[in-house]
């Protein structure tokens, strides 16, 4: 098992947490209640249960779907979730829209 990801002061927040600089996923182990649901829902296995507690093992794989945050009853996970779709972002930019969503005719 590799060592823990370092705890750092993230995004100017008062408490220390773990995360990767390539995405917005932030884990605050201090608040974690070890229910393990984040490790269940993550489709990229960013969180893993180990010795009765949850560890963040590969934050760089996060695609910001938001499932872990939504299912964390302790509020120990923060992620700016959204759709990683360039087509939708470019379409929104061209139409001058702020909000990026999938179009009617897109995304099955």
């Amino acid at each position: 098992m590799q060592g823990d990801i370092p705890m750092i002061q993230l995004d100017g927040l008062p408490i220390k947490g773990q995360g990767s600089e390539i995405n917005t996923l932030r884990f605050f182990p201090g608040r974690c209640g070890n229910c393990g649901l984040c490790a269940v829902v993550c489709p990229h296995r960013v969180f893993m249960p180990s010795n009765g507690r949850v560890r963040m093992v590969r934050p760089e794989k996060c695609m910001e779907c938001g499932a872990c945050q939504l299912n964390c009853p302790a509020g120990a996970i923060k992620v700016d979730s959204g759709v990683g779709c360039a087509a939708a972002m470019i379409r929104a930019a061209l139409k001058g829209k702020k909000e990026v969503t999938c179009g009617e005719d897109c995304c099955d």
Binding site: I22, M63, A67, L70, A87, M89, C106, D108
Partner: protein, 328 residues
């Protein structure tokens, strides 16, 4: 109190279902592959039978029910506006509120005595399990990512790491190609026709190659292309598909000799950014692009893509006009 209607379904996929799946895969009548939202029985379920939750997109619902062979259970279909579970979770239709609403309108609490719902794992991006528990009393259990693993999952209600991980195998990527072609079909027809009329078959062929490389070859070859970003993978693929044209031009023996070299450069400068742009547009179809990553990639590569394309198009135009006017 009058009980709401419970529909009946089975695990059998008919010819008609197969046709529906095929037409969904080619993007025909995109928004019409819907199932009626509500509660369904499959087999002969009783008060303690499991309840599975799905989206009202035929590909989602059918993937679930076809994997429930021999089981007696209920399927609760949410109104996701004809969108699959994962995308609907992101759009906010496969969501906590819709699940709670569907539990209420189907009177699920009177239909079953047990208090557990089995949701597809990818639905977790829209559903908050503890919120559902608090507001309805139902415990949300997340099953495997793929319906094909449900039989295995139901043995002990445990999913392996493999069953909990999304994948994007060659088959999964190939299945997306027809819809990709459909999305770009106007460009695929109009650009080559226009270029054929203006500049001849060779230029039309360059355009067809660039677009087909982006929408067909890119999804297939994505994992084996070196580099990390979608756009840079697109540049590599663009350079590869430019090679036959360069080879053709350089062996053609045009005079003076810098003309074929100039055209070759123009072709690379046009094909590479075109394929990169199409590759970048594929991000939303993959199961691993994050919004932060895609945004970073757009800012990093769109200026390069635009610059290369404009330079290439200008170079090709100058060479063609020059040749036509007899400048060189």
């Amino acid at each position: 109190m009058k009980m709401p209607e419970i529909f009946d379904t089975s695990s059998i996929i008919t010819r008609q279902d197969e046709w529906d799946h095929f037409s969904a895969r080619i993007g025909y009548r995109r928004m019409y592959h819907r199932v009626r939202p509500g509660l369904y029985t499959l087999g002969k379920p009783g008060k303690d039978s499991p309840v599975f939750v799905s989206a009202n997109y035929t590909l989602s619902f059918d993937a679930l029910r076809s994997n429930l062979k021999g089981m007696d259970c209920y399927v609760l279909v949410l109104d996701t506006k004809g969108i699959n579970v994962w995308c609907a979770a992101a759009k906010g239709t496969f969501a906590t509120n819709e699940l709670i609403n569907r539990i209420e309108v189907t009177s699920l609490k009177e239909v079953v005595d047990q208090r557990t719902l089995i949701l597809p794992q990818l639905g977790a991006a829209g559903v908050s399990a503890h919120e559902v528990k608090k507001r309805t009393g139902f415990k949300v259990e997340y099953g495997p990512v793929r319906a094909a693993d449900i039989t295995e999952y139901m043995k002990d209600h445990k999913a392996t790491e493999e069953m909990r991980t999304v994948r994007f195998r060659a088959r999964d990527r190939a299945l997306l190609i027809p819809v990709e072609i459909k999305n770009w079909v106007l460009y695929l027809l109009l650009i080559p026709i226009a270029l054929f009329l203006i500049a001849g078959w060779f230029t039309a062929l360059v355009a067809i190659t660039a677009i087909m490389a982006g929408v067909v070859l890119f999804p297939l070859l994505m994992p084996i292309l070196p580099t990390k970003d979608f756009s840079s993978k697109g540049f590599v693929l663009g350079a590869l598909v430019s090679l036959p044209f360069i080879f053709f031009l350089l062996t053609e023996g045009l005079n003076p000799s810098w003309i074929p070299a100039g055209y070759s450069l123009a072709i690379v400068l046009i094909i590479c950014p075109a394929v990169a742009y199409l590759a970048l547009n594929f991000t939303g179809s993959t199961p691993f692009a994050s919004r932060t990553g895609v945004r970073r990639e757009i800012f990093k590569y769109i200026p390069v893509i635009a610059g290369m394309f404009i330079t290439g198009a200008a170079l090709a135009a100058i060479l063609s006009v020059g040749k036509f006017m007899g400048w060189f």
